[in-house]
Amino acid sequence: MKIINKAQAGSFESSDILVMVEPSDAKGRNIEFSSTVGIQYGESILAEIHSVLDEMNVEDVQMIVNDKGALVPTIRARVETAITRGRGEQKGTLA
């Protein structure tokens, strides 16, 4: 269940969140995080990201996350898509 590719999901559009992942040689999750609403909601957004990573059994990952005010369903979807693409497990799409 390792991240084997550089991958990304989402966009810089308002209400979206851009999630980039890449394989990590180091142990653990290294998340570089920025958000337009970071002061108010940064902790809860990060908690949501970790929750999805837990559900997907992601232990070691390098992530860059740039949030533009995304809500929970969007945060969850973009992290899920980026990880699935990073694992090369995406289906029903064109590369």
Partner: protein, 298 residues
Amino acid sequence: MKKTKEFKRRSMLYIPGNNPAMLQQGGVYGADSLLLDLEDAVALNQKDAARTLVANMLQHNKYYDAELSVRVNHIDTPFGLADLEEIVPLQPHTIRFPKCETIEQLDKVLSIVEEIENKHNLPHNEMGIHAMIETALGVMNVYDIAGHSSRVDAITIGGQDLTSDMKVAAGKDGIGIDYARKRIVMAAKAHRIDVMDTVFADVDDDEGLRKETEYIKKIGFTGKAVINPRQIDIVHEVYIPSEKDVAKAMRIYQAYLKNKAAGIGVFAVDKKMVDKPVVERAMTTLSLADIDLNSIEY
């Protein structure tokens, strides 16, 4: 959850499936029905992202009282099966099947849907199917498609693809698709299911939209697809009956209840004969005016 046949369906708002802002706000505009689109509104290399986003929206976002429909990709594309596998377990009110041309295609979709429902221990009678007619072949087969399964509780016409398939201009006069519109309406009426009209593409032409909506209401459409929230009110205004019409429908329905209690089938209201079809039209008018028929006394 409301049964799919209980929705009014005057307006159906298209929402691109990979647009978080529009997806999260879709419920606030008052459309009767929302169409979360995984097909034409999504780039080919973002199909997976849109599918996952729509799935999460269905699970975590509130859409008030709107009917929720998801337009999946055609089953013969590389995306259709993955769409069904992700969306069917979440049981939106309906799945919209695009470019439906034959009952064989419909059977293929129904069979995959039921297989997924079996896998997830879900019933086969909750989620409806809307068949979208967008090609000349689909128009010619629409009567069979509309009546093929009890799960098909509405059919819709896709004007943009249909004019492209027919190689005619997609003009505002609608001449190119007029026969198709009427044939599709008649097929839906024959099977007693709903029928929705295509979008009006010029979002700056309010009068054009009103005129087209008045026309499609007259020829029998249940409602109309819209692509911009500002089009919703115009469509609803056309479909909401006037006070005069509601008052007349109320007189007819109350007279019907009174005469029914007395065992009389045909009677007169305002010096005009009233029989079953007239009562049914009055009931439709009252329903469109949001009046609960069970609350009416005579």
